[in-house]
């Protein structure tokens, strides 16, 4: 009589313990290997007795010179090793811009304005559908120029918005850290779509009276992932300049970029992009290690621009009527998925524990040699990180990533809630998400954070941070007044 099949519960429990045992074995392989060796050596020493060990030492016939040379060699090797290690880069503190309530745009107002500005009924309906499914809330903000019917973009208004968002964030940062403007050694600003002369970095230097030998950089045109590019640049500079700090500003200026035409592919940014800015203080000074919040562990940048499809998928151009807008192609999600895969392939070996990497490698070998139809093994990135910050580019992006990486709702909560409260603030959205996690009191010392940014080009950039001190709530930031209301349930379709 065949045995009754084991109940599912107990078989899954057994499987779980097998998996756990495997992970512990492989992750701590070296430890497991060295324990028997050390035990054997210890036993041998005890067996031989102290007299014999002293006799062995005398037999070597070492004199003073030998000993001194050996010591010098050891010290020399140690020094070279320590000097050639990269300088640690600390994130001392960061501050995000909190939009004032006089910039607020409720759904109904946005829809009413769209109807009054746009003559084409179809594009009005299209924008309404986007807004209903966008995942945005009723508190997102647009700059004052965009509250006009039609919007009123002038150079002066764009500069005013830039000053408002950037200076607010920097003032907040200075207040939190006691940073003296004359103390800033490196300044990196990224703002993709607004690039005046003199640059935004010059505007900051002028306002805060920074030093004349400051190293300033202004990155424009690099899309929504430019925030992590700035961090990467600052990190490289901090390797070259010892004892320095770097101020990184990530923002996107909305005023000049309202799309006034009717092309559907170009209407999405109008509905999703909102005001935001973040100011981040990085440092490689040893004395900042004590008060720093995070340490930068890895930055991995992936650029798919070599592929024509990826290059054209987010493209700024003029439509048939001469209105400039950013056209998003239909295969944006597919390209984003590919870029992410590329990025993960590079970052995986750097962060994943050995157990996951071994499994992935074995599955890869199995697929290549034995059975190509076998499902690829998706490494469990949840084991490598405690927190995830996915660029809040839109609901579709977050849904796609959640599916691809098999993430739970809690992992993507920071991204979804940031999209709801602040909209798509482009390169600064990662910082709002990080602030959300901190405001919720979830950031503990030793936690690892993975920030993923996507942007035009098509680029996928990742940064990995390790938390250096537990962040105590409540914290002062853009979430301070509303964090108690979150997380909120975001319906699939909002009824307008």
């Amino acid at each position: 009589m065949p045995r009754a099949p084991l109940p599912e519960f107990s078989s899954s429990v057994r499987l779980k313990y097998v998996k756990l045992g495997y992970q512990h074995l492989v992750d701590n392989f070296v430890t497991f290997l060295s324990i028997p060796v050390m035990v054997a050596v210890g036993l041998e020493l005890v067996r031989r007795g102290p007299q014999e060990i002293v006799g062995l030492w005398r037999a070597l016939e070492l004199d003073v010179i030998h000993i001194l040379c050996s010591v010098f060699v050891i010290i020399f090797v140690a020094t070279v090793y320590f000097m050639s290690r990269p300088r640690p880069v600390y994130l001392v503190e960061y501050a995000c811009f909190k939009p004032p309530s006089n910039c607020r745009v409720p759904f109904s107002t946005f829809m009413e304005h769209t109807r009054l500005i746009n003559s084409d009924e179809k594009s009005v309906q299209f924008q309404m559908r986007i807004l209903e499914r966008s995942g945005l809330g009723e508190e997102t903000c647009l700059p004052p120029a965009n509250h006009y019917i039609p919007p009123h973009p002038t150079m002066e208004a764009s500069r005013a918005e830039a000053q408002l968002v950037i200076f607010s964030a920097i003032d907040d940062l200075i207040r939190k850290t006691g940073l003296k403007p004359k103390d800033i050694d490196i300044l990196v600003v990224n703002c993709s779509l607004f690039s005046p002369t003199p640059s935004l970095s010059a505007m900051i230097i002028n306002k805060y009276k920074l030093r004349s030998n400051i190293r300033s950089f202004n990155l424009s045109g690099m899309g929504c992932s430019a925030g992590l590019i700035s961090i990467d640049l600052a990190r490289d500079l901090l390797q070259v300049h010892p004892g320095s700090n770097a101020l990184v500003i990530s923002t996107e200026i909305i005023t000049p970029n309202f799309y006034a035409g009717n092309q559907r592919a170009m209407l999405l940014p109008n509905c999703l992009f909102r005001m935001g800015a973040a100011a981040i203080l990085l440092s490689n000074r040893r004395r900042d290690a004590g008060r720093a919040k995070y340490r930068l562990v890895h930055v991995v940048r992936t650029h798919k621009g070599a592929d024509d499809r990826a290059y054209r998928c987010v493209y700024e151009e003029e439509d048939a009527e001469g209105h400039t807008g950013i056209s998003l192609s239909k295969d944006l999600m597919a390209i984003a998925g590919e870029a992410l895969k590329s990025n993960i392939t590079t970052i995986g070996p750097l962060v994943l524990p050995m157990s996951e990497q071994l499994l992935f490698f074995l599955t890869l070998v199995a697929r290549k040699l034995i059975n190509p139809k076998r499902k690829p093994y998706i490494p469990d990135f949840k084991k490598a990180f405690e927190h995830l910050c996915i660029h809040a580019g839109g609901r579709a992006v977050i849904d796609e990533l959640q599916k691809n990486l098999e993430l739970s709702a809690e992992h993507v909560e920071a991204s979804r809630m940031t999209l709801h409260r602040f909209g798509n603030t482009s390169s600064s959205s990662l910082w709002y998400e990080l602030n959300y996690i901190e405001s919720k009191g979830r950031m503990r010392r030793g936690d690892r954070v993975w920030q993923i940014g996507f942007g035009s080009g098509f680029k996928c950039n990742s940064a990995v941070w390790k938390c250096m001190r537990t962040v105590k709530t409540p914290i002062d930031g853009p979430w301070s007044e509303c964090i108690h209301r979150y997380p909120v349930h975001i319906p699939e379709v909002v009824k307008l």
Partner: protein, 449 residues
Amino acid sequence: MGVEQEKTVIYDHRISTVVPATVTGNAVLHELTNMDLIMKLHYLRAVYYFNQSEITDGITIADLKNPMFLWLNICYPMAGRIRRAESGRPLIKCNDCGLRIIEARCRRTLGEWLDVESSSSSRWRLLVPDKVLGPDLQFSPMVYMQFTRFKCGGMAIGYSWAHVLGDPMSATNCINLWGELFSGNPPPKTLQLNNHQKKAESAATHVKVSPKPIPVNQVELIGDGWLAPNTRKMATNSFRITETKLKKMQPEQLKQVPTFVIISAMIWKCLAKIRKSRESKMATICRYLTLAKCSKILNNMLKTSTVRLDSSAANFGLLELATLICKQEADESKSVEELVDIENGKPDFVLYGANLTFVDMEGINLYGLELKGQKPVQVDYSIDGVGDEGAVLVLQGPQRTNETSSNQERLVMVILPEDEIQQLCELLSSEFGIAQDLKINHKLSVTNM
């Protein structure tokens, strides 16, 4: 002045929207009472004129808009939009859509503007938007504000208010609250808006009174726009009645007759003479029961009464008529409210102008809109959507001294068919010596700091 020139005298219009500072909430509804629905085809238009001063010179549009966000937090139904319940009854969905702001410039100076002598004297028309609710009810703002800058300084604030939201008392209380917030005063302690009980009313209005009350006219609307068409072209004009004139008209034996009644009687007599056989021998008197200075209430609390005469008003003496009006006023408010069907809010009514309507706006604190202590030098007030019989509004005049209202001058705004206005002007000037509201000495310091 040619018509073309008139149109371009106000230029550089910029339209934007102001919303409440915080989210009002999901699906917050402001129910409309029967009285609200009766008044829905009327619109209040007010223009407040401010002299050039250091204060008005330094005001930017951001300064004007910033207090509005908190203001709309308090008076959130103003920012809502009309929706219909399943039964078809209109209500206000408080969806934070906001009110519309228009900025404009004027090619003339404030002094020139106030001196304008045009036949219809509708100088206020260009300074306040003339929009109505509909045809797209869901996307029609209920309140508009227009800020017009005059050449060489000075400003006019145009305020358009849909009557369905509240009566002139509520509207003025609201904008005065904005003035206080603008001047930096803290908001009132209790920020809750009193939402009247609609349910209690509907229980009482099942019994319909058989004789049809006369203060209102039932109308058929064409299309979805909430404005009743007029068969005759209406126009407005304003008259100033000085304190001395008031004293003359009110002899000893009639001290208990209110000034409003005397003024109404005067105008009724003149109109009766002009209209001759067309005169209907009936008039409606409208009073507002909302408390002054009570910025927490947005509602329509009107007391409508009718006066029926046996013969034409022209046959009575002024004082006789005034006494008659006092004695024979019949309160019709209850029966008016009962006309509206609870379910679908139908039919549509016109109140002002269904009969010749006299509106007592003396208690309305028009000059209480203070911008950091500066009061308006002049206020024009009118109602749109008035029926063919016309309406007469009796308003406060500007306060010349710090005395209380009893000795103030009055401003009378008439909304009548165009052809009657010229005749009315002549009659008033010949019989009572009342001049049109022209050539005001706007340089008089009207309780400025």
